[in-house]
């Protein structure tokens, strides 16, 4: 295959435009990923004189590490937030998509938690969920719904689920925007045809809107699943991983950054998490694709 001079120049220019992004990605993404993979084969702690190559020992160690499996279990348990987020953010999108008075105010209000710093969010929610002085228990008690304070963040049975509610609350606005975009891309003729055929709102939703929104639902499912498997900030800010709420990313942070800074072992867990997310996302896409065809 031969290229003319102008075609060659065009290709060269295209690569030239790609170069800055490629450099940035290489320095800040590809190199750290490669380095993390290499470190996972080392018993490595920063500046330690005892760093040595250990091959697959870190992976063998994590297969026997009860805390790793517990944290991984919690990360998978966290996936409960995914269907809830999909249903609630879709409901919100359906509410604020039509052009009604003050709709922009509501859209902005629902999006506010997304742009609010997690530190602030966690502080406020910790005050709400506080067992002895919290607003929620006080409210429930005044309404005579509870006889004694509910240990929202102080019971191992409840703490992780309480944190999940914060994740859901904070993420709704973001996924709502995706669904609004999806709803706007539904051809108007389809909705009109459904209306002419005498479809009621519920039927239009179930048989027209949701099937047409399936690519958006798939996207939200994938993004929110990955976020759920990588949850860290909420755990760090609200429970510090105590009461059995440690998730895998929190455990990686705990071992690699805090404490003994066992970076080699933490990197091995990072590699394991990457593989888990990769496999999970692959099946997620396949299953969602199959469901769409059905």
């Amino acid at each position: 295959m031969r290229f003319s001079g102008s075609r060659l120049r065009q290709i060269f220019l295209a690569y030239l435009f790609l170069l800055p992004t490629l450099i940035i990605l290489s320095v800040f993404l590809f190199y750290p990923m490669l380095r993390a993979f290499l470190l996972s084969l080392w018993d490595y702690s920063p500046l330690s004189p005892d760093n040595k190559f250990v091959g697959l020992d870190n992976f063998i160690r994590l297969s026997k590490d009860a805390d790793f499996w517990r944290s991984l279990g919690n990360s998978f348990l966290y996936l409960i937030v995914v269907p809830i987020i999909i249903i609630l953010s879709l409901a919100l999108a359906l509410l604020v998509e039509p052009k009604i008075p003050f709709v922009n105010f509501f859209r902005a209000a629902y999006y506010m938690p997304v742009v609010t710093m997690m530190v602030v969010v966690a502080l406020v929610w910790k005050m709400i969920f506080d067992t002895d002085h919290g607003i929620l228990n006080s409210l429930l008690s005044r309404m005579s719904l509870i006889s004694e304070n509910v240990p929202w963040l102080t019971s191992p049975k409840l703490a992780l689920f309480t944190v999940m509610t914060v994740t859901i609350w904070k993420g709704l606005g973001y996924y709502m925007v995706i669904f609004i975009a999806g709803l706007r891309s539904i051809p108007h003729e389809l909705l009109e045809a459904a209306m002419i055929d005498g479809c009621k709102s519920r039927q239009t939703l179930l048989h027209v809107k949701i099937p047409m929104l399936w690519p958006s639902i798939t996207l939200v499912a994938i993004i929110s699943s990955i976020s759920a498997l990588q949850v860290f900030e909420e755990i760090y800010m609200m429970t510090q991983g105590r009461l059995g709420t440690s998730t895998l990313v929190f455990y990686i942070y705990d071992l690699g950054v805090r404490g003994e800074q066992e970076m080699g072992y933490a990197c091995a867990m990072g590699v394991a998490l990457f593989c888990i997310i990769f496999i999970f996302t692959f099946f997620n896409v396949r299953l969602m694709g199959k469901a769409h065809k059905i």
Binding site: P46, L47, S48, P49, D130, T131, D132, H133, N149, P151, L153, T154, P156, T239, Q240, R242, L243, D254, V257, R258, G259, E260, Q261
Partner: protein
Amino acid sequence: MAHRNNKLVIFVISLILLFATIQLQAQNIEISFFTMQLRPTFDDYFLPLFEEFEKAHPGVKIKWLDHPATNYETKLLTSFMGDNPPDVVNLTPQMLPSFASRSVLLPLEGVVPKEIIEIYYPNVVSDACTYGGKIYALPWYLAGAVAMVNMNIFKEAGMTEKDIPATYDELVDVAKVIHEKTDKFAFFPIYTEAASMHGMLFVRGIPILDETQTKAIFNVPKSVETFKFWIDFYKNGLTPREALTATHRRPIELYKSGKLAIFHNGAQFLKLIQSDSPEVYNNTVVRPCMYWKDNELYTIDVQNLTIAAKCKNPKLAAEFAAFVTNGENQLKFCKIVTIVPSVIKAAEDPFFTEVEDTPLGLARKYIAAQIKKGVVVRFPEKNSAKLIKAMDDITEKVGLGQITPEEGIKQAEDKWNEILRK
């Protein structure tokens, strides 16, 4: 031709200026000083201090790098990894082993004269400044805790100043009355942050390790009794439910909001209470920290100054560290904030005994007196993070009722020995 000559003249002048600048820079020695959360509150103390040192050492410039306490250790580690460490570093005794074991700190023998080391409290030097038998730090200021008591809550519970508990043994009855009559809490112990339970055993005078420092020996009846005391305090609802997992920031929040009767901490918090909650401050009385009847010991928090092993001017850096930590300068610092100097002579100054009858004045007196019966809570030199985590995890299990205090102490000792053997 004249135009070309002009260009040549400009080029030569630029070269001369460049070399002159390089020369000037070479004469200027910079000592970087890495500290924990001191700016901007103490700018008025430190900036003149640096000027004084710079005046006495022409050509030397102090570069102050102050960082918040959050993730301080990680930031410092990053600067060491980047091969650009600061010269003089503010560390706590708990952080010292982590850096000394990585050979990034300079042993001070031979760099700091022996007669300078001798001016500090010897127990502080041995407990807070050494690693592997070598001195790695000069002790800086010492902090102790006092009990800040909200008299409003005591009055609400029908009690007076006479009822303020002096010992932990007296605390339980007071806590019960306060909780029953006011629905508020008397005291907020920290259970699972940085092995708090280890600290609780430490101040009870229980030996934690054997002489070789490689074997845990704290599974004794007194440990079980101490453990049980605090766990019962939690289980009987005498402290908020969140205490089991809370960090040290939570008690101050509750005290400021008038929901906690007794707050144990450094007297620097008095100023914070005064600015954030004037009403609580006006009803606050200060008392010495509570202690155990059978063993009057108090914990001392120490701040150290260390020198980086890769420091280009170790003698000068050590001279600067000795200057900052000398008795005169520490005493000046103590007059701004309620801390106690680590220099024996400075700590004996009448400033710490002849005090005004104000919360801050009394706090200074109490803390200075407590330092004499003070202990520095230390962890074994290796694997301290794993040991801390093990202790916190087991305390959590006992608090949740998953195991008994007896089983907890046994499991903690076994786990510590397992980690120490590695």
